[in-house]
Assembly symmetry: C2
């Protein structure tokens, strides 16, 4: 029988995360102080993050050892399986070989716990009692709640109010993991009170929720803050995905020509692709790595490379990144995890140096791909994951046209069991694409023209 699933035992789980900074030909530019515009050092981050994570943020070591305590929790769902998508290949009638790494087997149903667990661990090690964070749709908040519970740390989640009210079940799973969840804006912070004073009925935003979570962490020495993507240490933790996939592709006796992953802030994409990109940088291989982003939030394909703020109201350090401008408001697509205005610093530098590629897809194309995947391979993908699928299908069709049997590997980063409302919208014909114009982008980019070019 043909091999469908390539598994690793827990003893085969990699012992190291891979840090691509060590191999980058052009290192990322430094973050700048939002006021002075001068490069900042790691010490600036100390109020928000424990020192171990700050050191991981700036390290140039090629490999970072995964602590045993983290590996022990990883075992609840890792190593994750890698599959050959025979039925999808057949449906597409393509000579391409398609593989996928499946992260939906985690307790929260996505790849997010890969970084939530080490972040909780290093905070625990530093004696931190409480971690704050923001969450939009809820996947990151759920992952961090789970991770904090594993290390007996309090978790406080600021959830965008419109999601808190519209998706009550997402809150419940966080509560079950012992987290406290607040609908943001709250009256618990200056940032929240300021917004509520202007608009008592504010639906909230990720930007406001970030401000609240950061303010609470900065104001209490026993409390730190955690972020679910964008930052270097988050990308680093996610490389466990690609480290495993590399071993699994070797076991399958194959090696990808193309790697595809969804792109929000960069950690999903980095997680799968960086350990393979290493082979390009180290051994001169030529594996194409494609980041799949929503056409309605096209920072990689239509944004500019420039210093910009990480949050929407300009509190964070300035980061050199591909951005649509920090007050760009993405359309309300269902892939909530991909609605972010900028790209992480490392990924941005790699794209600038043409070491990776990017592609944008509208959501109708993505849901069509998601339903085809469910019908062929049997697993219902999260809306974020369908963006990678849309790229995979394009590449598989190209392979067919060109008569090439290339090997494609993609990240099926989560299941869609929490996203059935979006599939209902799609199947009932009520889903739409959002066309954004050059003028929309130009308008939000104009507002960051005064910022330092990267």
């Amino acid at each position: 029988m043909k091999q469908k699933k390539i598994t690793l035992s827990e003893n085969e789980m990699p012992h190291h995360w891979y840090n691509i900074i060590a191999d980058m030909p052009n290192k990322p530019l430094p973050p700048l102080h939002p006021g002075t515009k001068e490069p900042i050092g790691p010490e600036m981050l100390a109020p928000l993050f424990p020192m171990d994570l700050i050191l991981q943020e700036v390290t140039t070591e090629k490999y970072v050892e995964i602590p045993d305590e983290v590996r022990d929790i990883y075992k609840i769902w890792r190593p994750t399986p890698l599959f050959r998508a025979y039925q999808l290949e057949k449906a597409l009638d393509t000579p391409a070989k398609i593989y996928y790494k499946y992260e939906g087997v985690s307790p929260s149903g996505s790849h997010k716990p890969n970084t939530a667990v080490p972040q909780a661990y290093y905070n625990k090690k530093a004696g931190v009692k409480r971690i704050t964070t923001e969450t939009g749709a809820g996947q990151w908040g759920t992952a961090l709640s789970f991770a904090c519970q594993m290390f007996d740390i309090e978790c406080e989640v600021y959830m965008v109010k419109v999601s808190y009210e519209g998706k009550p079940y997402r809150k419940i799973i966080m509560n079950t993991y012992g987290a406290t969840v607040y609908p943001s804006p709250t009256d618990r912070t200056n940032a929240g009170r300021q917004i509520l004073a202007q608009d008592p009925n504010s639906p909230g935003s990720l930007g406001i929720a970030i401000s609240e979570a950061v303010e609470v962490a900065a104001g209490d020495e026993n409390t730190k803050y955690a972020l679910g993507s964008v930052l270097n240490h988050v990308l680093l933790h996610q490389t466990i995905v690609g480290q495993e996939a590399l071993l699994q592709m070797e076991k399958a006796g194959d090696m990808p020509d193309i790697i595809v992953a969804p792109f929000g802030g960069g950690s999903n994409f980095a997680g799968l692709s960086f350990p393979f990109l290493r082979l390009n940088l180290e051994e001169g291989k030529n594996i194409r790595c494609i980041a799949s982003e929503p056409a309605s939030c096209p920072k990689l394909t239509q944004g500019v490379f420039r210093y910009d703020f990480g949050d929407s109201i300009g509190m964070t350090p300035l980061l050199p990144m591909f951005t649509l401008g920090h007050d760009f408001v993405p359309s309300p697509i269902h892939a909530g995890g991909l609605r972010y205005h900028g790209a992480g610093v490392i990924v941005s530098q790699l794209l600038k140096d043409k070491l990776i590629e990017a592609r944008a897809h509208h959501q109708l194309e993505c849901f069509q791909a998601g339903v085809l995947f469910a019908k062929t391979e049997g697993i219902l993908p999260a809306p974020e994951a369908t963006h990678a699928l849309a790229t995979v299908i394009q590449e598989a069709k190209r392979c067919k046209e060109e008569g090439k049997s290339e090997t494609i590997l993609f990240n099926l980063c989560g299941h869609g069991h929490f996203d059935l409302a979006s599939y209902e919208n799609y199947l009932s014909g009520n889903l739409q694409d959002y066309e954004i114009t050059q003028a929309d982008i130009a308008s939000s980019l104009a507002k960051i023209e005064g910022l330092q070019p990267a």
Copy 2:
């Protein structure tokens, strides 16, 4: 590091289901014709099931080979992992060793696809074009929709109307797998029209939905019917769970003293326990197998062993089983998969012969156990699975009191990602237990007194 997860590669997946009938000291009594009350032969089932499944229903062969086509689909989620619950053990401060088999990694999030896939396969092999079934909360309907999609068969699901309207997302996942879902009662069948004539606003019931699905299948030679538990062939298919667990316990260098699984119609419990019960029957081992049922639907602990109908309106053959009476209406507990009035024939005979045990739990105790499990082991269990957990915790506490280091294995049959509303009820203090009285049970049992004693 201590071993947490015991994995099997796809090559280690068992090649056979185990048929306990071959080893039972007292074989199950035959089903009786609902009209003549005479034993019926397999041919009576031909309008509803393909011959391969009917032969599996009556076979006395000890092992039944799993077809390659079924194993190929099983690989999407099987072999499933087996875990040692170190953190739960620690929280309970017990000398007991607790293991769990985790079936929540399947595409539908539960153990149901283990039988849905072979049922769809044998129907496909027999040239069947369409399969009908009923579903309550939706887990079985989802599993069968997935399986039919894999073999390109139409799937028609009669979903209890009150669930159809109250749990719209469950319908969507079935639609995504290409199934047609009707709120039952419908005007498509005589059974449905009869109910609607009496009560146009009927909320439906599993009994009515079964009648509709059976009527449609019986009336069309290209259509067959599928059931998700109770029947012998369904229990047979689920033994893949225990067959794997046996290999995994051997790999762990351990062997259970106690096996626990939730009990609805019997397939969940049979799936894990029968391959271990074989060791009792064959080698004289003394592994205790405990079926965990809801206290509000206590057919094993408070029912009688008697011939009764499988459905609520008396259309099916009479089966010799532990029953509360076929018109017993279980309280609306959240573990919808356990709300069935009777127990499958094989399990009933085993209980009568004292080869297995049973225990009943109220739902508050179960949800408390579920939250403890989520907080310690990290996985949120389905409400059905929490019933097994409640028994496990009782046994682990007994081990502590008695100072015994017994080994307990239980079936974590599904994740709770579809059941967050029930956790919300529990966490907000709005959940209640349902006390049923001896009079309630006596009343529904009185109605089957005229039926043949088994």
